[in-house]
C-alpha cells in the first residue's frame, strides 16, 4: 500500500482524527476505539514501514520503550490485571494494516481474548533441524544500531490550503498592480 493511502499515515498526518495517548518526533500512540479491551493502544512509527524488518533498530528501540511505558500506565491508571504486547508481521500472522504497529492490550481474567496456542510436541530430529537452520541465520546477529542517528521523520504534511486561505491569496493577488 502506498504511503498516501495508508490509514495509519493519515492518522499520523491528522487527516483522520484519533485519540492520541503519546507522541514524539518518532512515535505516535493512539487509543484503539474498537480495541480488544478498553484501553487497547496502537504504538506506531511516524515513518511508513509496512513490516518490522524495515523499521530501523533505533526506532524499534523507541517504539518498544513507549509500549512498555504505556503498559505500565495501563496497570497504573486503568487497574488492569495484566497487559499484552502483541505484534503481527505478515498476513498469516494476522497483520491487517500495512503500517508496522505494536498493540498494547490491557487484560482482565476471562475477557474473551485468546493469545494462547496449542503446544506442539516436536521430535528431537525436527527440533534439531529447526535449531540448525535458525542458528545459521542468527550467527551474524547482534550488531544493533543503537546510536541516536536521528533519522528524518517524514510526516506527510498536506500543502493544501483551506478555502479561506485560498480566498486570502486570491484577494492579495488581486491587489497587485
Amino acid at each position: 500500500m502506498a504511503k498516501n493511502t495508508c490509514i495509519i499515515c493519515q492518522i499520523i498526518g491528522n487527516s483522520i482524527p484519533s485519540k492520541k495517548i503519546y507522541e514524539d518526533e518518532m512515535v505516535l500512540a493512539v487509543l484503539d476505539v474498537n480495541g480488544a479491551n478498553p484501553g487497547h493502544c496502537f504504538v506506531m512509527p511516524k515513518n511508513h514501514y509496512p513490516i518490522i524488518e524495515q523499521v530501523p533498530d533505533i526506532e524499534i528501540g523507541r517504539l518498544f520503550q513507549v509500549s512498555n511505558k504505556i503498559s505500565s500506565a495501563i496497570f497504573e491508571a486503568l487497574g488492569a490485571q495484566g497487559t499484552n504486547i502483541f505484534v503481527a508481521n505478515g498476513i498469516p500472522a494476522g497483520q491487517t494494516v500495512a503500517h508496522f504497529m505494536i498493540n498494547v492490550i490491557p487484560r482482565k481474567e476471562n475477557d474473551g481474548i485468546n493469545l494462547q496456542w496449542q503446544p506442539r510436541q516436536l521430535g528431537e530430529e525436527e527440533m534439531s533441524t529447526v535449531e540448525l537452520k535458525l542458528k545459521e541465520q542468527t550467527k551474524n546477529m547482534g550488531h544493533f544500531e543503537k546510536e541516536e542517528k536521528r533519522p528524518k521523520v517524514q510526516v506527510p504534511k498536506p500543502v493544501i490550503f483551506s478555502e479561506e486561505e485560498e480566498e486570502y491569496f486570491t484577494r492579495q493577488m488581486g491587489r497587485l498592480p
Binding site: 511505558k69 495484566g82 503446544p119 535458525l134
Partner: protein
C-alpha cells in the same frame, strides 16, 4: 516448581516470608526458583538460538509452531515494566532480528511477537520473555482479539487517564512530548499507583 507439594501451613509461612522481603531479597528468591535463570546459567539444557551479554533466545520445547523462540533477558525480571529502557531496546532489536531470521531460514510467512505481563494476560513463566513465533497460513494458531466498540465518553476518559499516567504530554498535534525518563538508579518509590512488585510476587509465589 519446587514448592508444589508443600503443606498449606508451609505455603502460608512462605507467603508471609515473601511479604516481608525487600525488593532485592525478593528478586534473589525468585531467581533461585526460576527455571529460566537456570537455563541462562547453563544448569538446565536448552537449544540456544542466539545469545549476547543481555539476552538469550532458545527454542520453546512446547512451541506453537516449529521454530518458536523464547527471547529472555539474562537478568531476572518478572514482568516487562521492571526492565530498564536500554534493555527494552536491546530485547526488541533482537526480536526483530529473530523475526527476520525466521522469514529467511524456516520458510515462515509471518511472525508474531508476544509478551504477556501478568497471569491474566497468559503469563506462565516467572521470568520476562518475548515469544517470537513463526507463522504460516492455516497453521492452526488462532489468536482471538475481539473488537469492542467504545463510547465517545469512554474514549475520552480512558484516553485522558492514560495521557495523565504517561506524563500528560499529548495536548496538541505538534506537542513535543518526551518519554518521561526516570532518573538513573532512583530508589524505588513505594505507594504510587499499582505496585509492580505485587504483580511479580503473584508470579513468583504462586
Amino acid at each position: 516448581m519446587a514448592e508444589q507439594n508443600i503443606s498449606p501451613e508451609q505455603l502460608k509461612a512462605l507467603q508471609e516470608k515473601i511479604k516481608q522481603m525487600s525488593p532485592e531479597e525478593l528478586k534473589e528468591f525468585q531467581k533461585k526458583q526460576c527455571i529460566f535463570c537456570q537455563i541462562i546459567a547453563g544448569k538446565v539444557q536448552s537449544k540456544k538460538i542466539y545469545e549476547d551479554e543481555k539476552v538469550l533466545a532458545i527454542l520453546d520445547i512446547n512451541p506453537a509452531n516449529p521454530g518458536h523462540v523464547l527471547l529472555m533477558t539474562k537478568e531476572h525480571y518478572s514482568i516487562m515494566p521492571q526492565i530498564p529502557d536500554e534493555d527494552i531496546s536491546h530485547v526488541f532489536m533482537a526480536a526483530k532480528s529473530l523475526s527476520n531470521s525466521m522469514l529467511r531460514s524456516i520458510d515462515a510467512q509471518g511472525t508474531n511477537i508476544i509478551v504477556a505481563n501478568g497471569i491474566a494476560a497468559g503469563q506462565r513463566a516467572q521470568h520476562f520473555m518475548a515469544h517470537v513465533i513463526p507463522r504460516k497460513e492455516k497453521d492452526g494458531v488462532d489468536f482471538v482479539l475481539p473488537q469492542k466498540a467504545m463510547e465517545q465518553q469512554e474514549i475520552e476518559s480512558i484516553g485522558n487517564k492514560l495521557v495523565a499516567a504517561l506524563g500528560g504530554a499529548v495536548e496538541k498535534e505538534d506537542a513535543k512530548a518526551q518519554i518521561p525518563v526516570p532518573k538513573k538508579e532512583e530508589p524505588k518509590k513505594e505507594g504510587k499507583g499499582i505496585n509492580l512488585d505485587d504483580i511479580s510476587k503473584l508470579l513468583g509465589a504462586k
